[in-house]
């Protein structure tokens, strides 16, 4: 494969990203390169070590259907073409125990003392292409995947018919190692279910089954193939043709998802009960093998990258793009792009399209060679700074330094500041000004909002990335909510200074809502933890002052949660209705 040989590509296989810091155009990356115990560059893939290795283990790349040694190569065309030792399986380099592979290795590339290595480098852009995983069929065990050997998943079907398997691409029935005379596929296992598995359509399973039936019919025209489905989704170019070809070859498609599977104890055949929804009749069918067409799920390991790059997820767990239709490749973090199934389940063609798109989007930045940082960063007013250091503590990016001993004013590195404004909200001396989101500007907006009939209004602060975007999505989806909501957009809920909230109450606001991202979604790492801390302290202060704390609400609403946004708005409106004019006047007096 070309990636292993390309002079411009540094391939770090068997490696994990452990840390990413920085910002658009300037990321610093730390990668852990796991020990292979084999020198990749010296290995000639001669296979002598594998031949002599005495340890036989199930091969993960064949889902355990075949075996490998303790020293192995995942598959013949692997890139890099080098062996690795699984140290948990290896007997160890003790002459009494083993060490045989090192003895036979001619280029002397086996090194039992190899350690994990850390590699660090700088990049201008990052593309996340962490892929997807296959759904676990045990969650729907009415098909007895765990009990009946002749029930396999579509993923196992791939391995069993793949070139690497010992049967040489021939599908054999697990119980008797014979070619099955009949086979059935059940669609949507783990997909399109609100109760178990996942509510979404996994996109690729229908076509995968069509492909599997064609493969079987090409090799064994006499084999009986039946597909049980809810809806066949064959929407891509050339897909419908393939579906028609499958039907023309005699594959039977029955609309209805089986409810029950029973194994014949003698023949090990599987008897399926299904309601054929086209005829409305309950039917029984017998097959020698059953394939569960399993859906796909987001990959768990993506979460680490998601956090490191402050990306968001949609409710299905896949990574969120900037805009559904118009910006489906950029992530909300500048300089970070999404490619392939980490964004949503998709077929190979769509993955390749998105990958090329991501490369083009990245090149657009790289070829310009420079990027402008929005002028919304924080500025220190040196004369007012008391060098207390709270701003440095609050900054999620470590972009502020304060020498408390020397009592010199705080210093901001503007290129590293992302403009969340948490420092500005935390500073008690008014020594920090957030460009373009200044205290005076926000206070003026509050004044304008509450100048007339303040008692009727819901004063809301919404963060740009999640809550404001969630409110936008409610609009895009034409959802309705009370018309008395008035929003002030800040980049982060961390910007919402105590004084904004007191000011709103002083001006007669019946309720104030502060809304930000969920903790894992915060676009400023964890700035919204400061929001929470601040609001909790405000609730205490309100209590002590004799102002009902319910009048200050805190909610986390993501960019995808339009429904939640409307619910929150309705709930806050219910609270607003309980606030009387008299109560508002009393609050004003208290805060005078």
């Amino acid at each position: 494969m070309d990636v292993g040989r390309h002079p411009k590509i540094k391939l770090l296989a068997y490696s994990e990203v452990v840390q990413i810091t920085g910002y658009i155009g300037n990321f610093h990356v730390k990668v852990r390169k796991k020990a292979r115990y084999v020198d990749e560059s010296a290995c000639t893939a001669c296979d002598e070590c594998v031949k002599i290795c005495p340890v036989v283990k199930p091969d993960e790349h064949q889902l355990g259907f075949a075996t490998r040694k303790a020293i192995y190569i995942p598959f013949a065309q692997a890139v890099p073409a080098a062996y690795l030792i699984n140290m948990e399986d290896c007997l160890g380099n003790n002459p009494i125990a083993c060490g045989k592979c090192a003895e036979v290795c001619d280029p002397k590339c086996i090194d039992f003392d190899q350690q994990d290595e850390f590699v660090e480098f700088d990049v201008g852009v990052a593309i996340v292409a962490t892929g997807m995983d296959v759904c676990d069929p045990t969650i729907l065990d009415e098909y007895y995947y765990t009990k009946y050997e002749n029930v396999i998943t579509s993923w196992e079907f791939e391995i069993l018919t793949g070139p690497g398997y010992i049967t040489k691409s021939e599908l054999l029935r697990p119980t008797d190692r014979k070619l099955p005379k009949s086979i059935a596929f059940i669609q949507c296992v783990g997909s399109r279910s609100e109760k178990r598995g996942n509510p979404y359509c996994s996109n690729i399973c229908c076509m995968n089954t069509v492909k599997d039936t064609l493969y079987l019919k090409d090799h064994h025209p006499e084999m009986e193939c039946v597909v049980f489905y809810m809806d066949m989704r064959t929407f891509g170019k050339g897909y419908e043709d393939l579906y028609k070809r499958s039907k023309a070859l005699g594959v039977k498609y029955i609309r209805g998802i089986p409810g029950d599977v029973v194994q014949d104890p003698k023949t090990k055949n599987l008897i399926i009960t299904v309601e054929n929804t086209t005829t409305g009749k309950l039917e029984k069918h017998e097959f020698e093998m059953l394939v569960l067409s399993v859906g796909v799920i987001p990959r768990l390991e993506t979460e680490q990258i998601q956090r490191a790059l402050t990306l968001s997820k949609t409710p299905d767990g896949f990574l969120m793009e900037t805009h559904y239709q118009l910006n489906p490749i950029d992530s909300p973090t500048g300089g970070v792009f999404l490619a392939g199934c980490c964004e949503a389940p998709k077929d190979i063609k769509s993955s390749v399209i998105q990958a090329s798109g991501a490369a083009a989007r990245a090149e657009r930045l790289l070829s310009t060679g420079k990027v402008t940082v929005e002028a919304i960063t924080s500025t220190i007013i040196p004369d007012l700074c008391k060098s207390c250091g709270i701003c440095a503590d609050a900054c999620p990016y470590g972009s502020i330094t304060v020498d408390k001993e020397a009592k010199t004013p705080a210093v901001v590195v503007s290129a590293a500041c992302k403009g969340c404004g948490t420092c500005g909200a935390e500073c008690r001396f008014g020594a920090i000004e957030m460009k373009h989101f200044t205290d005076d500007q926000i206070l003026a907006m509050i004044d304008a909002m509450l100048e007339e009939k303040p008692e009727e209004k819901i004063c809301t602060f919404a963060c740009n990335w999640c809550s404001y975007a969630g409110a936008d999505l409610a609009g895009l989806s034409r959802m309705q909510y009370p018309a008395n909501a008035r929003l002030i957009r800040t980049m982060c809920s961390g910007r919402v200074d105590e004084k904004f909230i007191w000011h709103a109450f002083k001006k007669g606001a019946p309720v104030v809502l502060v809304s930000g991202c969920h903790f894992v979604d915060c676009h400023y790492i964890d700035a919204n933890r400061w929001t929470q801390k601040r609001v909790e302290s405000l609730w205490n202060k309100m209590e002590r002052k004799g102002i009902r704390p319910e009048r200050l609400q805190l909610e986390w609403v993501s960019a995808a949660e339009a429904v939640k946004w409307t619910k929150v708005m309705n709930a806050v409106e219910d609270i607003r209705k309980t606030v009387t004019k008299k109560e508002i006047e009393e609050t004003k007096k208290i805060l005078m």
Binding site: S351, M445, M449
Partner: protein, 204 residues
């Protein structure tokens, strides 16, 4: 691009002249919000020197109108009441910059996603749109010109994941001449596709 100067220094005693451009967005906004009433009302706000409504402010004629009136009316602050700033703030900032106005002297009022699209009652929606415009004007009065910081872009890319998508991205970027670090957690690249025998729709 954003470094044009030539605009008035607001810290000076220069008189504020705010222009308000109300977008009908076809019927997206005008269908629910009374844009004529809103425009007339905007003219009464403090420091608003000029207000007009357009059919589509983001379209070329709409943008030309902003540029023309910035010059003709000597506007030194611009408020556009239309869709979400998450969509067209960059568009209008560029438009102001083209007319010689510092792009940070522009403010947006979201009367579509957060008003006309979520409220069906014309009276209530118009009332809310007025408040949204009033709040934007209040902020616009205090806007100051800003200079954007320019930072260099390191000429290399990180690709996380060596499946078909990661491989394709890496090859495209590398072929274009940029160094790529491709990080794969498994001992080999190839991802899930390396398991697959035949692929649809070509069956190869």
């Amino acid at each position: 691009m954003l470094e044009q100067s030539g605009n008035p220094d607001p810290s000076g005693a220069e008189e504020l002249k705010i222009g308000v451009f109300i977008c009908e967005c076809g019927i997206n906004i005008a269908g629910t919000v009374d844009c004529d009433e809103l425009t007339e009302w905007a003219k009464t706000l403090p420091d608003v020197a000029f207000a007009i409504k357009n059919r589509y402010t983001c379209a070329e004629p709409g943008q030309q109108e902003i540029k023309r009136f910035i010059k003709e009316e000597n506007l030194n602050r611009v408020v556009v009441a239309s869709c979400t700033p998450r969509m067209h703030e960059p568009t209008f900032r560029r438009c102001c910059a083209d007319a010689g106005l510092n792009p940070y002297l522009f403010e947006m009022a979201n009367i579509r996603e957060q008003c006309s699209w979520v409220h069906s009652d014309r009276k209530q929606a118009t009332q809310k749109a007025k408040d949204i415009v009033k709040m934007a004007v209040a902020k616009a009065r205090l806007l100051e010109p800003q200079q954007e910081l320019e930072v260099p872009v390191t000429q290399s890319a990180l690709v996380v994941g060596g499946g078909i998508a990661g491989i394709q991205t890496s090859l495209d970027l590398a072929d274009a001449g940029y160094p790529v670090y491709l990080v794969e957690k498994e001992p080999t690249v190839g991802g899930l596709m390396s398991y697959i025998n035949k692929t649809f729709p070509t069956m190869d």
